[in-house]
Amino acid sequence: MTAIQIILLAGILFLYGYFLLNIRRRFLELIFFTLIAIGAIFFIITPDTSTLLAKKLGVQRGVDLIFYFTILFFGYLLMKLYLRIKKVEQKLTAVIREDALSNVKYPHNIN
């Protein structure tokens, strides 16, 4: 095994372990990220497989193929993050609005 394979494996295992510690019962996400981790470990240990697969998909190098899928994956993560932030923003807006509506100053009692 080469040095880079060891480093990448350590990185994947660390990320996956950190994810497991914070997963909080989101089972679908658990399955999804487990598959991603398995795939990553597989391609790290057998890099030639990625090259074979790449050529079948019309890509020159295995690492390029992995790079393209990584971009897609990050796009998916960004979208999820955006939606999560939107949800939080909506909850915050609802709380602030409720407070404003509960403390209206009416014409007859405004100074």
């Binding site: 939107k86 915050l92 807006t93 602030i96 609005r97 404003a100 209206v104 100053k105 014409p107 405004i110």
Partner: protein, 237 residues
């Protein structure tokens, strides 16, 4: 000042009309804005303070209705808070009016007349239909581009969707639900109009640009943010 007006033989009562003013750090001009609205005969004024850092209430001509967001959320959020509040009042029409002094109170009778005569659910004010509104060139170009982007997203072709001057009837106020807190709410408005099959029309309105209002207005960078918000809005619905 009388609260009834007669325009082209139509007499209408301004008592059923509420003016909704979302405001953020507008202490310099809002006092005068409200004074002019009252001089125009409109006394039902609702100010939604969108988390201003100064004590806006001290600068307002009372009596009026006043609501305050504890934190700044955006004009869209302030408008929706106003809508949520006004729904519980005895109103016939609601006019949204900017706090920065750009909107001329002469427009209020124009809008009211138009909604009564046409029986539309919403009348949008437009800077481009007539009147010699001296828009800065950059703003003119930006708004023209925005017009077609809005059309692409909503299918509605307005000459000026980003004008804050609108009048809505009860049906429109009760139907529309703005979830975009920022300036993309103007486009979301059009989505809501289409979704709820609200009838609409545009009328020319008078706008006054000052150094103050231009400084407070939208920058090109804001426009790019609005576009991104719109793209992501579509994906989140």
């Amino acid at each position: 000042m009388t609260t009834t007006a007669t325009v082209t033989n139509l007499s209408f009562n301004r008592n059923g009309v509420f003016i909704l003013i979302p405001a953020y750090n507008e202490t310099q001009v809002i006092g005068k804005v409200i004074q002019k609205i009252k001089e125009a005969g409109y006394n039902n004024i609702v100010v939604v303070d969108d988390g201003s850092s100064d004590n806006l209430l001290n600068f307002l001509q009372k009596p009026l209705y006043f609501l305050k967001h504890k934190k700044n959320l955006g004009q869209g959020a302030a408008l929706q808070t106003g809508f949520s509040f006004v729904k519980n009042l005895n109103f016939e029409y609601l006019i949204t009016f900017d706090a920065d002094g750009q909107h001329d109170p002469k427009n209020l009778d124009i809008l009211l007349h138009e909604i009564i005569v046409t029986k539309a659910d919403i009348i949008f004010g437009s800077r481009f239909l007539s009147f010699d509104n001296k828009l800065p060139l950059k703003k003119r170009i930006l708004l023209k581009i925005a017009r077609y982007i809005n059309f692409l997203f909503t299918g509605l072709l307005l000459s000026d969707a980003h004008n804050g001057l609108r009048i809505l009837n009860k049906k429109a106020v009760n139907s529309i639900n703005i979830t975009e807190n920022g300036m993309a709410h103007a486009t979301e408005f059009l989505f809501e109009v289409k979704l709820h099959k609200l009838t609409w029309k545009e009328v020319p309105v008078i706008i006054h640009y000052s150094k103050y209002s231009i400084k407070k207005g939208q920058r090109i960078s804001n426009s790019i943010k609005i576009l991104i918000d719109l793209l992501l809005y579509k994906t989140s619905k």
